[in-house]
Amino acid sequence: MLTVTGVSRSFGGVYAVRDVSLSVADGEVCGVIGPNGAGKSTLFNLITGHLAADHGRISFLGQRVDRLAPHRRARLGMSIVFQAARVFRGMTVRENVMVGAHGHTRAGFVSAALRLPRHRRDEREIAAAADRALERVGLADWADRPADLLPIGQQRALQLARALCARPRLLLLDEPASGLRGAERERLAALVEELRADGLTILLIEHDVAFVTRLADRVVVLDLGQVIADGPPAEVRADPLVLAAYLGQTS
């Protein structure tokens, strides 16, 4: 589904990501882990298109996407849950989720301004899809509240609902567990399990090793911008290079 081949990106002569290759297969949950500064966020931004790669290529669903703008990649079916809260202010929770449906709906300024029948039909469908997504992440009761008032855990869930409302082929989660407390983290893990069971392909970029190894079918480990291991969780955990990278950094 997603193939990253020899991608590099440097900032002021220092490589943040260097010659990274990885692939995510259909229906797979792929985890990317690595210590702080390993290049996880840079890699995430290269895949989503918010940063341009210096070298290498990225293909998605058999199409080369590394020159496409972020919104075009989103329309192909990449849905993102950002680490930082990216809740749209001044909108209700439901409206926030409805934004997710933007890519696969069409009503534009003219049909909205004139309230054409097409606009009404679209609006009904989008609202129904948003409500289903909110139900799924457990935010149905919050639908009509201002989104800015949600606690951080629910903001993450809101972003997930918005991503689901976009009918994703590939769901990209950037540090989804960061800042969440135990119970919220458990609910998120259960939700990821459910989505996997539904056959959704997921790329999970995460600092928390335990969270990733529990959910992922395959784990890619980054250190200093390069891939140092790639395989099933159990194998990767025992890899001496990985142990060194993490041990060298923390304890």
């Binding site: 989103a74 849905s79 749209f88 001044g90 909108m91 933007h102 606009h119």
Partner: protein, 326 residues
């Protein structure tokens, strides 16, 4: 505000709006028309700043483009209705052309660039032959449709307020729909909006053009009403005035634009009257109007940062012990 109260309030506002031209004298009617025109432009500014998060300090440029377009066409013998229809179209097209490079800028840079656009346009209009130079265009025929010709100011008052109602309706319809949600989303985070499949650049351009359309329509009505246009009719102060009106009324509220335009217009009128009292120096009117923009802006930003309309509706909601929202 619940639906029935909203409907009643709307009906009351509509009734007063319709009744006013019949009872106002000519000088009051002039204020009423200019107020409606200012509100029309301000709704666009509020849409641009409050909903889409973009700043334009040059909205007067599109007002001028609309006015000059309608004036030139009318003087060339084109029926006034066609000229009036062309005014918003010309403003929108100019906004698309100007906005394509300009909207790559953000925040203060965008504000100053739009201000520069207005200054350039004014100086061009003052130099060029076909715009009549500094003297401008005079003898613009009255507005009319077919054999009907607008005789008195009351007709322009109705035209203005009908235009304002149309502009408000279009704005409301847009913001509560798919493109409107996209605009509000990109005002918070362009990154997150793009990742939801929103073409951020194109949407900013379209909303810039839409706000210019409103200003162009107002400019078209203005030229028929006054019968002449000149660079002096569109000073930079007018663009600043629209922003003050939008901020005072409450950015990101449609009614805020109308309330803000009303409050500022009445205040400036009162001060003008004060400044032209015998014994006041000749520079008093302009000094006082500059001062009032600055003062009102500072007071509102300090004490009612969200503007008049949100502050009032929050107060009402509190009295009803509801959660304040919008």
């Amino acid at each position: 505000m619940n639906n029935r109260a909203g409907l009643a309030a709307g009906a009351l506002v509509a009734a007063v709006t319709l009744a006013l031209p019949a009872v106002l004298d000519d000088s009051a009617l002039a204020v009423y028309i200019l107020l409606g025109l200012a509100a029309m432009v301000t709704v666009g500014v509020s849409l641009l700043m409050g909903y889409a998060g973009q700043v334009s300090l040059g909205q007067g440029a599109f007002y001028a483009i609309g006015a000059y377009t309608a004036a030139l066409l009318a003087l060339a013998g084109v029926p006034p209705l066609a000229g009036l229809a062309a005014a918003p179209v010309a403003a929108a097209l100019s906004a698309l052309v100007i906005g394509t490079p300009l909207l790559r800028l953000r925040g203060h840079h965008l504000a100053f660039a739009t201000l520069a656009v207005q200054l350039i346009l004014l100086s061009l209009a003052g130099q060029l032959e076909f715009t009549g130079g500094d003297i401008g265009l005079q003898g613009i025929p009255q507005f009319g449709v077919g054999s009907f010709e607008a005789g008195g100011a009351a007709v322009y008052a109705y035209l203005t307020w009908a235009g304002l109602a149309l502009v408000m309706l279009v704005t409301r319809n847009v913001i509560t729909s798919r493109p409107g949600r996209a605009l509000r989303a990109l005002a918070t985070s362009e990154t997150a909006a793009a990742s939801s499949g929103i073409p951020v650049g194109r949407y900013k351009l379209v909303v810039f053009a839409l706000s210019a359309t409103f200003a162009g329509l107002a400019g078209g009505i203005y030229c028929f009403y006054t019968g002449y246009v000149a660079p002096g009719s569109f000073p930079v102060l007018i663009s600043i005035q629209y922003i003050v009106m939008a901020v005072v009324g409450g950015l990101g509220t449609i009614w805020g634009a109308v309330v803000g335009a009303t409050a500022i217009t009445l205040l400036v009128q009162g001060l003008d009257r004060l400044a032209s009292l015998p014994g006041m120096p000749t520079y008093a009117p302009s000094v006082l109007s500059y001062a009032v923009y600055a003062l009102v802006l500072i007071v509102v930003v300090l004490f009612m940062p969200r503007g008049l309309v949100p502050a009032i509706s929050a107060r009402l909601a509190k009295n009803r012990k509801e959660l304040p929202y919008r």
